[in-house]
Each structure stands twice: as C-alpha cells, then as structure tokens.
Amino acid sequence: MDIRSQVSMVFHLDKCIGCHTCSIACKNIWTDRKGAEYMWWNNVETKPGTGYPTKWEDQEIYKGGWEKNGDSVSLKGAGKLKGLKNIFHNPNMPSLEDYYEPWAYRYTDLFEAPEGDDQPIGRAVSLITGEPIEIQAGPNWDDDLSGTPDYARQDVNFKHLSKAEQESMFQLERMTFHYLPRICNHCLNPACVGSCPSGALYKRGEDGVVLINQERCRAWRMCVTACPYKKSYYNWNTGKSEKCVLCYPRLESGQAPACMHSCVGRIRYLGVMLYDADRIEAVASCDEAELIDRQMEIYLDPFDPAVIKAAKENGISDSTIVAAQNSPVYKFVKKWRIALPLHPEFRTIPNLFYVLPLLPAMASVSEDGVYDSLSENLLSGVEKLRVPIRYLSSLFAAGNDNKIIEVFKRLHAVRVSRRDTTVKDVTETQLNKVMSEANMDIHEANEIFRLTSLATFEERFVVPAAHREEAIEMLENTGDVKGNTGFGFKMKPERGL
C-alpha cells in the first residue's frame, strides 16, 4: 500500500446554471495573455453538443487517452515510439480551427468615426494576426442548444444511441439539455504526463496537482494530443504548453481555486481523497464494465485506522488526514455514491466527479400531457425518462446504464424525502418504496440535502494546509534569499528566438 493524497473535485450538475462565471474568473487570472487568448482552462459546455475544442470526445479523431493493453495500458496517439516518430509533425493534434480564432473588437473606431449618416461599427479583429476577420465560431457557441444542427446533433455520444433515441432528444416535449463545466481532472493516471517526451509534465506528490514545468517544455505538443479531455493547450506565442494549474498558489494559501470560489450556482466542491498508488495500473487496465467500481476502490476510507497508520508512515501530515475526513468529495463519491467521473473509458482515472443531473431525466410528459415530476415510479421504466439513459451512461459510465440508474434512484430518493418534509404530500408507502429502492435512510437523505443546498464555503472547500512554509525552509535558507521577490521562476515569459 502506497497511500497518497489527491485534491479532488465534485461538480453538481443539477445546480449549474451555465453562467460561465467560472470560465471568466479563470480567464482573468490565468489566460488573459498573448498566445493564451483561445485557451479556456475552465469551460462550460451544453450537452448535447460538440464542446470545446469541437468533438473533443471523439478519440478516433484526436487519439487521446489510454488503451487497454493486457494487464497494462498504452497511450492511444502518443507514447515512446509513436511520439518520437511524430515529433516533427503530430498528425492527431488539434489546430486553431478546432478551437476558434480569438478576436477583439475595434472599439476605438466607434469613438473616432467622423460624423455621418451611417452608424459606425467596431469590426472584429483577430487576436493573432490583428486583421479583421469574419467570426466563424466561439468556444461556447453551442450554448443552450443554439445552432442545433451544427452542434447538438453532432454530439459524439450519439454514436451509442439509436436513431429513434436521438430523434426523441430533439422533440419539443422531450428536449433536454444540461451544462457540463470542465476543468483538468488532475488524473491519477495522467495521459498528458505519460506522453511528454521532455518530462516537463509531472504530478505533484503532495497534492496530486498535474503541472507543466515551463522551463522544460520544448513544444513537442504530445500532451495536447494525449489528454483525452483536451485540457492541455499549446501557447502559440511562447512555444510552451499550458494547462489548468488548479490555482495551486491559491490552494497553498488555503483558498479555493478561482473557478470554484466564484461559482454562482455553488455547484463546486473540493476536498482531499486518500488513494493507493500501487493500484493505479490495475485499475486503469481493468475491463470497461468494471472501470467505475474499480476506481471507487482505489480511494480509501480516511477513518479506517489501518489507512491512517499507513498514511502517516508515508509522510502524509495529520492536517491532510483531517482534511480527507472532512472532504465533501469523499462524501459525494464514496459515502453517498452519487457522483461519477466523466468518460472513465479514457482510462486516465480522473479526479473530477459529477453529481448527475436529475432534472433532464425527470419531468417526463405522461400520456395526458401532464409533466410528472413526482412519482415513486419515476425510475421503474427507464424508457419513460425524459433523457435517454444511454446518453448519460455514455458520458459518465462508459456505457454502463446500471450505474446511472443507481445514482438516479438515490438522487430521486433525496427529492422525495425533501418533498415529504416540506410539501408533505407524499404517502408513507411512496416514501418507503423510494427510500428502500435507493437503500437510503432519512438521515442520509438529509445529509445529502444539506451538503447539496445549504453548505457553507468551509464545507464546500476543505483545502488541506500545504505546509509550504516548511517546504521553503527545507529548500532554501530563507535568510540567504531575504529581500528577493520569490522562490520560483523569475524570468519574463518571453518567446525565445
């Protein structure tokens, strides 16, 4: 057993209102620079939709992630020989067109235009060439199912749905969508790290954040291909790749990452998970049907004395163990089992979990045209659900419908029990049936309700102390560097010749 700690996340999809505040918070802090304008380390997609970059989920195009290879895994589109062979031209790398050409408007034209009969306009200019462009697309042009034939109907997950199921998703009465905010998953088996020929990418041992050493990156661009979530980006100006850093400077000072801090819907939770690093390979290479169950096994119970002992032996500090015990992620993922990873079949073992959106499933229209949002039978006939279960299982369960139904049962039970408490129109038999099917008691339902709806800042973000202050003293004699600006990288990020 090799216990390590991992900062993990939960996003509650029923609560996301698709406001993009998270994306803007991230952009303002990290990617508002030349060469990074097109990057959205945090982006919010509408599902069904093609996402950003376009069709990122389609690994036939981008060849991201790992493939099962006997008892181990190998990279699909990168790796030792494949990577070095393709180093002069990487055939599976997305290019600017797959994202979008960033632009700004010439606002000064509006002010400086001479008086005349026509209204002046501020033309869009490319942030790359500075020339006027015709805007073709943006990173969220599939918002709220807009441009449906171009976007929603092209959704990559539809390949698992029958034609009839696909059609049903576009009928007015059955149409549904939900938002899918995405950041880097800080995976346990990161494909980006495995693919980097220069060894610039690494996972931090202390908290599992995956970073790119900007001084070692040589622009071989393999991580861009290898990350199946397309969360490593190439900065065309500096000639270095960049990715979500989980706001590690904020984490180290005990604050939540900016996207989470600013989240309007309060959908985001962050906490520590203890896991057994010895099992990573076995979990990543197990059969597709087992992927979720095996991933759940890798996370350990932070209250188990044996786990605590082994963690301490491995140098995990007491404050981190306490953080793991209070972790909201542990509760959602392991204790309550209502959060699933996105596309586990990419085999990177992602550490960002999604509480499934129940709303698109409920509110199916009954024969007589009435919306049925409360029924103990909601989940009795899967075909009655408003959203095809297959669609969600393709997103969150590698095609395993049962996993989705299990989660739905539990989420539904929480709702019915809350309705019983507040509206009081649920009969005892109805309640008991729903609760027993979900294998849940009223106490657990209340706990889930509390953390979902009423949680305070401190309950949503349990950031372990980083002990960075000790680290600095270990690395440097602080007296020697008194008066310096910092301990890290002090050069301007200028492009080389």
């Binding site: 070095l84 990487n90 790398m93 600017l96 088996n189 690494y202 996972k203 661009r221 491995n314 200028e494």
Partner: protein, 240 residues
C-alpha cells in the same frame, strides 16, 4: 590569411560560442529553449515541409558523423563500387528531401499571415544558412562526386586536427569553393545554435525512451521532515 581566418579562427570561435552560449541558455534561460512549433497555427503544409526536411537532415547529420568518427569503415564499405553508389545516391536523396522540405517551409512561412506573427529576424538567418548549407552540400555531391570516400581521406583529418588543437588547413585550402562554402556555413550554423531555434535539437528527448511514463515529483520529502533525521545544524537538507 583568409584560410586561417575561415578554417581555424572561425571553427574555434564557433565552437566556443556554441558551448558557452548553449550552456548559458539552457541553464539560465530555460524558458526560451523550445522548438517553437507552429503546427498549431498551420498544420497541413507543415507536414509536407517538416517531415522531409527533418528526416533528411537527421540522416545527413548522422552520415557526416559516421564519416568523421569511423572513416576507415566508410572507405571499406565504399570498396565495392555498387555499395559506393548506393551510399552516394541515398545521401543525395536525403539532401534533396531536405532541400524540398526547407523550400516548402519557407514558402509556407511567407504566405501565411498567422505564421508571420511568430517569425522573428533570427528565423530569417536560420533559413538562409540552411539554404546555403543544403545547396552547397548538394552541389558538392553532384559536381565533386564520391564525397563519401574523399571526405574520409581529406576532411576527416582536417576536422580531427581542429579537435586535437593542432589545426592543419593545407588540405582544405586546396578544396573547391563549393566544399569551402559548405565548411564555413557548417561552422556558422554551429555558432548560431545558442541564438536561434536550433537549440531544440540539443534537447531532443531521447531519454523519453527509457524513462517511466508517469512522473511524480515531491517538492520535499515529508518522511524526512517527520523523522527529523537530517536536521543537522549548519547543514542544508537536500530534499529536492
């Protein structure tokens, strides 16, 4: 006099600049060591330029290196005329592929507005020296044939004399102009490595072949802190 300048002073100056400059850039300007790939901005033409250019250069470089390191083996191989012709034709083909590649790359850069935004004056220098180097090489190969044999008997001794700090320029000063241009431009390339994107071939990631796929880096070793074994006064712990 000019011969001394071009074939003794230039090589030593070039090597000194190359060694000191590269170490400096790697050590203190790590952020600026990059291949500066432009595939993200334009990927289709890049394929037809970059692949033939790089593979051509790759094999030519190792061909030259072999002739420099083991000239006798090369001469022995060339003992049979058929094998000599195979070697020469292969070398020439790689030269042509590099030439076509670089021409396409130059064309691509000139015609694409996006690429002009990421082109600097040193890139122009790079293109010029590479063109001179490749064309002079092809010129030599075509008009002063069987270079793989005479290289070993005339140029290898010259290059070795440079590296053994006992420079002999007689042989090179008798060489035709095309060969001399090829030599001078080769040393110019070496000299400008630290100031151009050429640095990227010094960091070609061969170590990827034997490294583990996953990398985990601890900022400090928690176990050492917990056990306090290394807290010796006046001695710095080495945790990184």
């Amino acid at each position: 006099m000019l011969n001394y300048l071009l074939f003794i002073a230039l090589p030593y100056a070039a090597l000194a600049v190359f060694i000191i400059g590269s170490i400096f850039r790697y050590r203190f300007m790590g952020f600026k060591v990059s291949s500066l790939s432009s595939q993200f901005l334009e990927g289709k033409n890049l394929f037809w330029g970059s692949q033939p250019f790089h593979w051509g250069m790759f094999f030519l470089f190792f061909g030259h290196l072999t002739a420099f390191l083991i000239p006798r083996a090369v001469i022995a191989w060339n003992g049979d005329p058929l094998r000599l012709i195979i070697l020469e034709v292969t070398g020439f083909a790689f030269g042509l592929s590099a030439l076509l590649g670089i021409l396409l790359l130059i064309f691509r850069r000139l015609t694409n507005k996006r690429l002009q935004m990421v082109t600097n004056y040193m890139d122009v220098v790079v293109y010029i020296v590479l063109l001179v180097q490749i064309t002079s090489g092809l010129w030599v190969a075509f008009f002063n044939r069987w270079g793989s044999s005479w290289f070993a008997s005339t140029l290898t001794p010259y290059l070795r004399s440079i590296f053994s700090f006992d420079p002999q320029v007689d042989a090179v000063s008798m060489m035709p102009l095309s060969v001399q241009i090829h030599i001078v431009s080769a040393f110019s390339i070496i000299a400008i490595i630290p100031f151009t994107r050429f640095v990227h071939f010094l960091v070609y990631p061969v170590d990827y072949l034997w490294r583990r796929y996953q990398q985990v880096i601890w900022n400090w070793d928690r176990k050492d802190i917990r056990a306090s074994r290394k807290h010796v006064y006046g001695e710095r712990t080495k945790n990184n």
